[in-house]
């Protein structure tokens, strides 16, 4: 059985000569993982996901989802993948039950009792029309449709964007419960980092179509650190460190954000004579901002 459910090599999408949305993406999503795909708006996350589902044709490179090429086998992939799009628009004239009835015949693995269970769990009124639903409820219907056919892989494209914090938490709770119960592989794109941190065990950061990093979340947190140096006098201008991502100066305090941190490298800072040196852990949001923020060292 394949080790990775999603594997891309040099995946590229060029809309026009000047507009390259995804640039030579090498992505590997391990089976059974919850992979969070981070990036700012317009980073290329949605384009990547649409290529993985065969909704967009790749310009170059290779892509495999569940061992199949999305350009050649989009239908078999869609049968085995549950997909929730960013602000998914369904047929607003249909009721929830009609939407379920419409989708059910497309999936040989559709589980009616699971669909009923999800309807109850998400407190969705069957007879309500899609156009009458709030954005949160709409997202829950989309999640129900993505889950009721028991997919091997769940792809969620920024499913909580535009939701208020309360609904977002409810929605995430639903996802977390399902992940724990079903032990599925989840590929989860978002630009809201705090929610990603709650559920992910792998992270990839995309910026301007390029994958800046992709690794287990624990390893990422171990490797990206902040080093706080406090100086008695003026802060030297030439302070540097291997894998420097960001450098912030506040008074006599210099904060370095570094990747591939290794304790041994701290010795190299001794020559600048700091009064004190402190190594700080970062949360995912800080890491993300360090990687893609404006102050990031090129």
């Amino acid at each position: 059985m394949a080790e990775y459910v999603i594997e891309t090599q040099g995946l590229t999408k060029r809309y026009t000569r000047r507009n390259e949305a995804v640039k030579s993406l090498d992505l590997k999503v391990p089976k059974g993982s919850v992979y969070v795909f981070l990036g700012r708006n317009g980073a290329g996350k949605t384009t990547t996901i649409r290529m993985l589902l065969g909704l967009l044709q790749k310009t170059a490179g290779k892509a495999e989802v569940l061992g199949l090429d999305p350009d050649k086998n989009p239908v078999p992939i869609k049968k085995r993948v549950g997909y929730v799009a960013d602000n998914q628009k369904m047929y607003d004239w249909m009721t929830i039950q009609e939407t379920i009835n419409f989708c059910r015949p497309f999936y040989p693995t559709w589980n009616n009792s699971l669909a009923e269970d999800l309807l109850k769990r998400f407190e969705l009124p069957k007879r309500a029309k899609i156009k009458e639903l709030s954005r949160g409820m709409n997202g829950k219907v989309a999640l129900l449709l993505a889950l009721a056919h028991q997919p091997e892989l769940l792809i969620l494209d920024d499913p909580t964007s535009g939701l208020d914090p309360v609904v977002r938490r409810e929605f995430l709770q639903g996802i977390i419960e399902i992940i724990h119960q079903e032990a599925k592989t989840v590929f989860f794109s978002t630009h809201i980092i705090t929610e990603a941190e709650q559920i992910a065990d792998y992270a990839g950061v995309l910026e301007e179509g390029k994958l800046l990093l992709s690794q287990p979340l624990d390893k990422l947190k171990d490797s990206v650190k902040q080093i706080r140096l406090i100086f008695e006098n003026k802060v030297p201008d030439d302070v540097s460190f291997p894998g420097l991502l960001k450098k912030e100066l506040v008074g006599h305090e210099l904060v370095l954000t570094v990747k591939d941190y290794a304790p041994d490298a701290l010795k190299s800072l001794a020559r600048f004579n700091p009064k004190s040196t402190e190594v700080l852990d970062l949360n995912l949001e800080d890491i993300f901002v360090s990687l893609v923020g404006k102050e990031a060292v090129a």
């Binding site: 909704l55 869609k78 497309f106």
Partner: protein, 216 residues
Amino acid sequence: MKSLFWKEWRENRTNLLIGIMIVIGFLLLSFFVSGDMVDIAKVLALVAIFAFAGVFGAWSFTKEKNTLEFFLSTPVKRETIFLNKWLSGILNILILLSVVLVMEAVIFYSTGGFNFLFHLRQTADNRILAWSLPAYFLYYNIAFLLSLLLFEIISAVLGGLIIYVVVAIPFVSFFSSHGPRLYHALAWIWTILQLIISLSIFLIAYRIFSRKEVKV
């Protein structure tokens, strides 16, 4: 697929009902008027079907403007989605035509007609087959293609009409200059020509849809 056909039916039924009511309205009018007005009312019924053929074609993809991603993310072959949409529109046109034929039969009998099959054959030869049906198919196909390209109903209806007129002008002007003696020959040439153009447009639309990308 039943589920797809049900969706198309639900989305088209209002347009179809309006079309049926308008067509019946014109045919009923022909029952109550006399002289030239009888033929004018019948022709208006056929023109109404022509207009609705454009609406059915234009509506096909316009209604999917916001839902195309959701639709295409379902595991249904694109050719199935495409054919289902196309056939649904064609069926609606045929339903409207059937209404005309049934209503004409009713009117024919109620006004003392006795050989309906002969009357039907005349109607079918001259109006429905030679003139109306290929015109409906052509206009429908043009509007169908434009809706796929533009996702905008007014543009697809009007654009389709303009293109249809541009295509039809050479034939109409040729017919006008040669008079009714070439009527039958020209009618059949025009019929076949319209069907060929319709088929070509259908194939172009199919090719476009099979490669259609859901852009970000």
